[in-house]
Point group: C2
Chain length 304, copies 2
């Protein structure tokens, strides 16, 4: 199969998730419409083999995860899913790999109700780059920069499961969604917290998705907002099978970390946001854990 045959095959696998837009895959550009009264939220993420996922992992799982990880950025912005563009660099024209990958991105796109409107296939070291786009009513995007001293710090779900799965190893042994163990499911099939993100519009003062680890990602909110945070380890929701270090510093969970002004905290249950308060925003910069300063560890490219 050459490049164009491979693309045609993959677009055929996408089915419905590539339809329903003004102009989908197959031209110089896709054409879409942003809903009236909405702004466009856009992000790009690269997932490299053996950096962000094991190169021998099942292509369906790799594809599913690539979409969900990207959609998670929309959740963190309080945006409704719109569309994605997917660039795949593949070492060889591996027809079966590409077909299973296409099925995986299609399934995740269906689950997240997002359209796959275009893409690119190149010969090169295995890498998936996803450009993700969503919609938010004008001026209602959640950002990292609005946290204020006194706000409560929350996280959705539980933390550390994906890091525990990476630590356990064996991620390459799973060939399909059905075979996944609990922690490996958290790694390959994270649930982008889209509903929580939408519900938090007008409520959260700051929000981020946890891709690099709670401490590091919370520190991004703190720096952008010019504040600090005090956390208590006893309040951190550690996932089954994970330890505290994995919950604090492990990435890949794609839960949301967000801050809420004290007077709005009571609204959360009614909004259907299942989240745990883990601390408070304070004036003093930096993050303190049980009264001790911590440095945001977590994953960093090029750290030496």
């Amino acid at each position: 199969m050459n490049e164009f045959q491979l693309i045609d095959m993959m677009v055929a696998e996408l089915g419905d998730v590539a339809r329903g837009v003004v102009l989908g895959p197959g031209d110089d550009g896709a054409v879409t419409q942003v809903p009236e009264g909405c702004e466009l939220v856009s992000s790009i993420d690269a997932l490299l083999a053996d950096v962000h996922f094991p190169s021998a992992a099942a292509p369906w799982l790799v594809g599913y995860r690539a979409i969900m990880v990207s959609v998670s950025d929309l959740a963190a912005m309080g945006a409704e899913p719109g569309f994605v563009l997917v660039a795949l660099n593949l070492p060889q024209a591996l027809e079966t790999w590409a077909r299973e990958f296409a099925k995986g991105i299609a399934e995740a796109a269906k689950k997240a109700a997002i359209k796959i409107v275009g893409g690119n296939v190149s010969a090169g070291p295995l890498c998936i780059t996803v450009s993700v786009h969503g919609y938010v009513p004008t001026s209602q995007a959640l950002t990292r920069s609005g946290a204020q001293p006194g706000d409560a710090v929350f996280v959705t779900g539980s933390l550390g499961a994906a890091a525990a799965a990476v630590c356990e190893g064996g991620l390459v042994d799973f060939r399909s969604a059905e075979e996944l163990s609990g922690p490996a499911r958290r790694y390959f099939m994270p649930e982008a917290r889209l509903q929580a993100g939408l519900a938090l519009r007008g409520i959260a003062s700051g929000a981020i998705d946890i891709s690099d680890g709670l401490l590091q990602d919370l520190s991004h909110i703190c720096v952008a907002s010019g504040v600090g945070a005090q956390l208590a380890t006893v309040d951190v929701p550690v996932a089954d099978g994970a330890n505290l270090d994995q919950a604090l510093n492990g990435g890949d969970d794609y839960e949301l970390c967000f801050t809420v002004p004290a007077q709005l905290v009571d609204h959360l249950p009614a909004l259907g946001v299942a989240a745990t308060q883990i601390g408070l925003v304070v004036t003093k910069s930096g993050i303190e854990l049980d009264g001790e300063p911590v440095s945001g560890a977590g994953y960093r490219h090029f750290q030496g």
Copy 2:
């Protein structure tokens, strides 16, 4: 420098081209507004070292080219430049490389009047993936699928210069825009035909940018439109220093190839579109050159 320091440095280099949007780089997503009455045109392209450009080429030139090559897709759609997201995979935290690259993308973005609203930096084999977005009044996008028998086939500018530069070699010897020879300038600093694309709205029945070679790219219009084309070699505008094969099959020129209904051809000069008629659209599928069928050669990933 770690990942975040590298990103901060690059964003600082971007200057004005990263401002003037609702929310630029630094959050989970950028926020932009699509002009009223417009649809959004979106495309993604990956440029891999030693596939799409020499890995030892000067980073300023690599960056400039990455943006212009992407913007060219907007030209082919008749879209006005909006914004780009840039994902850079870099083998090491090469501060100087990243700084010069950032200056190159900033300069091209300024030239094309497009905003750089976000990006991603990962450790990995050198690769640049650009997600490009532009605006077109509703239903006025140029596509590949509207060519009709009897339409005239045009190309902008001249063809083959970039292929001649690749053939000559020595692309890695140029360190800056000032040093570039004529053909190498066509390779590294292609002029995305944005003005022509805008002028061709409502005029062109089909359009594409020539990235893989005239014959191959014109064949995409023919297939999408269910037509064929007859060309005369004597009419093909071969660039200075290039030969006919480079003009027909060399990619990387980023000129536009487009079709125009016979009754609209006279409008082109008044629209300021400098283009050469090279043939006619016909009912019979395939492309004929001087009466002989040709197969669309040009670049294909995974061709074997």
